[in-house]
Structure formats: C-alpha cells, structure tokens
C-alpha cells in the first residue's frame, strides 16, 4: 500500500507591519533627538565639608558682587570697583591655571538681589581663568 505524503505547509511570518512600526519609531526619535551640545562652563565649587572651604583668610582674592557693582581685591584691604572685562584681565594675569589648588581660591560674595544672569557671568569668568570658587557664608 502506497503512503501518500502530506504536502509541507510553508509557514511565513509577515514582517511588513513590523518594519512599519520600526520606521515610525525612528521618525519619532529623529524628531526628538538633539545632537547639539549645551554651552556653559564647568565650575569648581568645593564641597561644604572640605577643609579648604572652611576658612578663608584676608589674603585670599575676593570678588564681591552686587546688583550694580563688582568689587575685586587680591587681599581684603585692596578691594576696588572693577568692570567685568577688567576682572577677566586681572584674573588671567594671576595665572591661576598653573597655580596650586589652595592658591586658586577666589572668595565669592554675592548680594541677595544679584540675578542669576550676573552671577553666571562672574562665575564662568572666574572658572575660565582657572579659579576655584569659595562661597562665603556669613556667620
């Protein structure tokens, strides 16, 4: 008796719709992705607990920022009004980039009415010149 062979069923998964979904997802990610790197400046602000931030003496260069004025002095006694451009020149002249960490400290005192815009300009300037910012907390 001859046995009849069953024809093999060809199983196929339709992947057409699968690719459609994938391309929709690609379009979504293309539209939401931004490859532009943000602009800014990395700043060095030591942690509150570190010893370098506990005490600053009168010989540490200081920047005092108010809403209208910027004052700078390499010591406490030599504080004087200064423009932002002049401050940049003075800080670069100090060659902070090549100094030891403790000699790179700049004490920054900011008044309550100083906007973030002004604070940002001063802080990024100090950091660009190689300074390490010490935030002053009044006792």
């Amino acid at each position: 008796m001859s046995r009849k062979r069953r024809a093999k069923a060809e199983a196929e998964i339709d992947v057409g719709a699968f690719a459609d979904i994938a391309f929709l997802l690609i379009i979504f990610f293309i539209l939401t992705t931004s490859f532009v790197r943000p602009l800014g400046q990395e700043v060095r602000i030591p942690q509150t607990e570190t010893p370098e931030n506990r005490e600053v003496d009168d010989q540490t260069p200081s920047v005092n920022v108010t809403a209208n004025l910027i004052r700078f002095g390499e010591t406490e006694d030599s504080m004087a009004d200064i423009s932002l451009d002049a401050l940049r020149d003075r800080l670069f002249q100090m060659n902070l980039m090549n100094a030891e960490d403790q000699d790179r400290m700049i004490v920054l005192e900011v008044a309550d009415d100083v906007t973030y815009e002004r604070y940002f300009q001063v802080v990024t300037l100090i950091s660009d010149a190689g300074g390490i910012i010490a935030i002053v907390e009044e006792n």
């Binding site: 992947v15 057409g16 699968f18 690719a19 994938a22 391309f23 997802l25 690609i26 990610f29 293309i30 939401t32 992705t33 931004s34 490859f35 790197r37 943000p38 602009l39 800014g40 400046q41 990395e42 700043v43 602000i45 030591p46 942690q47 509150t48 607990e49 940049r88 900011v110 008044a111 309550d112 009415d113 100083v114 906007t115 973030y116 815009e117 604070y119 940002f120 300009q121 802080v123 990024t124 300037l125 950091s127 660009d128 935030i135």
Partner: protein, 133 residues
C-alpha cells in the same frame, strides 16, 4: 490558435533585514536621546566665557518660577542633594551635573541649589548661552 498564458511571477521583497536595520537605528536614537530633561520654561543666562560642555550624567533645571527639576521631575530643594547623590551613585561615574537656571532668578532662589549640588559631590557645569553682544 490558443494563446498560452505566462505563469505569473510572485515577487517577494525580503523585509526582515530592513526591520533589523530599523531596530538598530531605534536603539541608536534611544541611546542618544535626552528628551524629558530640559522641557522647563526658562531663559538661559548669556555669558562670554562659555564653551561646549561634556554630556551630563544628571540634568538639573530651575525654571522661572523657581521650581527645581531633576531629570525632568520636580523636587524640593531639601531633597535635591539626596536625589542627585542617588542618581550619581547609580551611574557610578564621576558625574557631571548640568545646571540650567533661569536668568532672572535671584540669589535666595539659585544659591541653595548650587550649595546642595556642591554638597552632593557633583561636578557642576553651569549651562548658558553665548553672549552675542
């Protein structure tokens, strides 16, 4: 004379490899996307001393209302340090935190944020834009 019909050819385009490529592209875009982070309403501060920043591990924003956002989620100033610490620990890297603050805020609004980030041991990068003036 009888006309012999030609047998219809069944054309099939293999779509499986196209799907593979599509999914590789999806994975790529998923890895490079950082949506959900900076959708807050704020005007970035302009400055002359800015450059391109390294990619952020954690993104913190303070909007014009003074609300603090970490990775797109609102947090209170008292929870900020702990939240950033946890996120940085999870990434196990010397993490850079991008801080984007609205330019109009005053010291009592932005300084506690900076102090909290500094206390959490973050490397802070202030985000702004180039001053065009």
């Amino acid at each position: 004379m009888p006309v012999r019909r030609r047998k219809k050819l069944k054309v099939m385009i293999p779509l499986a490899s196209m799907g593979d490529i599509a999914f590789l592209l999806i994975i790529f875009f998923m890895l490079v996307s950082d949506f959900m982070r900076d959708h807050q309403e704020l005007d970035p501060a302009p400055g002359a001393d800015v450059g391109e920043l390294a990619p952020a591990e954690v993104s913190v924003a303070v909007d014009r209302e003074g609300r603090i956002w970490v990775q797109g989620l609102e947090v209170g100033v008292h929870d900020l340090g702990a939240a950033v610490e946890i996120l940085l620990e999870r990434r196990r890297e010397d993490g850079i935190v991008h801080l984007n603050v609205d330019r109009s805020l005053t010291r009592p609004e932005y300084m506690p944020v900076i102090e909290a980030l500094s206390g959490a041991g973050a490397r802070i990068a202030l985000v702004g834009m180039r001053d065009t003036e």
